[in-house]
Symmetry: C2
Subunit: 188 residues, 2 copies
């Protein structure tokens, strides 16, 4: 029967999701260093080699976590920007949503923006969710006089820089609110 093989394919797809979710959970709990193929296999209650029937390797699993995280970040940005009047308020809402995501899901954030390089980013075949995220950031900024996109890149860089330097303990965590207000002054 055809439907039977279809069901099996659905089950396989479910298991791929299961693996990605487990990897993300494990990374959030104990950091990416703790995400080994053995521990991951144990958590999903399968043997190690099944991972490789779904993903080309460990990096591909990290990539999958990154893609899922990008989709979630996009959703948060959209929600934050939606009910904010344009200008300073929108910039603040976007920045705050961005930082909140980075703080709430540090491992996912790492997978998205510091760990993997396997995903296409600044090209046409980048994940749609990524372009959407970028568009949300563009929306809150004043219309670019120069080459469009570059201002958004700088805005994104500032958000990313703050997120990653704060997360790695390289900036004083107690001054986060102040940094946020400076970002609003600069880009709002």
């Amino acid at each position: 029967m055809v439907s039977i093989s279809e069901r099996r394919q659905r089950e396989l797809a479910k298991r791929a999701e299961l693996i990605v979710d487990a990897a993300r959970e494990l990374a959030e709990e104990q950091g990416w260093d703790a995400v080994t193929t053995r521990r991951l296999a144990e958590r999903v209650e399968y043997s190690q080699p099944v991972l490789y029937s779904h993903f080309a390797g460990k990096d591909a699993i990290v990539d999958a976590v990154a893609v899922a995280g990008i989709a979630e970040l996009t959703e948060r940005l959209r929600a934050a920007v939606a009910d904010a009047s344009p200008g300073r308020e929108a910039v603040g809402a976007a920045a705050r949503a961005y930082f909140t995501f980075a703080v709430d899901h540090p491992a996912a954030y790492q997978a998205m923006f510091t760990l993997t390089t396997g995903l296409p980013f600044a090209t046409d075949d980048a994940p749609q969710a990524l372009k959407d995220s970028f568009d949300e950031l563009t929306k809150v900024l004043p219309p670019a006089s120069k080459n469009p996109g570059s201002l958004t890149e700088v805005f994104w860089s500032t958000l990313h820089g703050i997120a990653v330097l704060a997360a790695s303990g390289r900036m004083r965590p107690e001054h986060q609110e102040e940094r946020l207000s400076i970002v609003i002054d600069l880009f709002g």
Copy 2:
């Protein structure tokens, strides 16, 4: 004799430098993933365990590379800011020097600002060169009305964000000059 043991200590110190330099070279040539204790030992023409008579572990070697890199970056920033009139020109000079360093020594830059977390950063006992670097960045900015340091943190975050996102292929490399001019507009 005392002088003999002193000479031996000098030789040991030389070898520690040799190890750090070799680690940095290897990392710049082939990336940090290629820097294994075995390859590093082979390059300095000693056996693996000698590394551990100088450093607590591989992470400590990376930290040493980071410290050396920070000193070099500080020097470059100082030179760039020194002969630049205050204001937009100084901001541009500092930003350009920062990006140039990140591009010229990507592995050292990684060691300094993305890889290791073993070094104290935003505390009083941070390496002096690091505080000096921070001071150089502070100099080029307009006197802070709010809490001093926070504006510098945001400026640094922007530079770092651009450097790291560009280096990992997450931003269009051909728009670097444009991003630089936007940075000058924002902070100058």
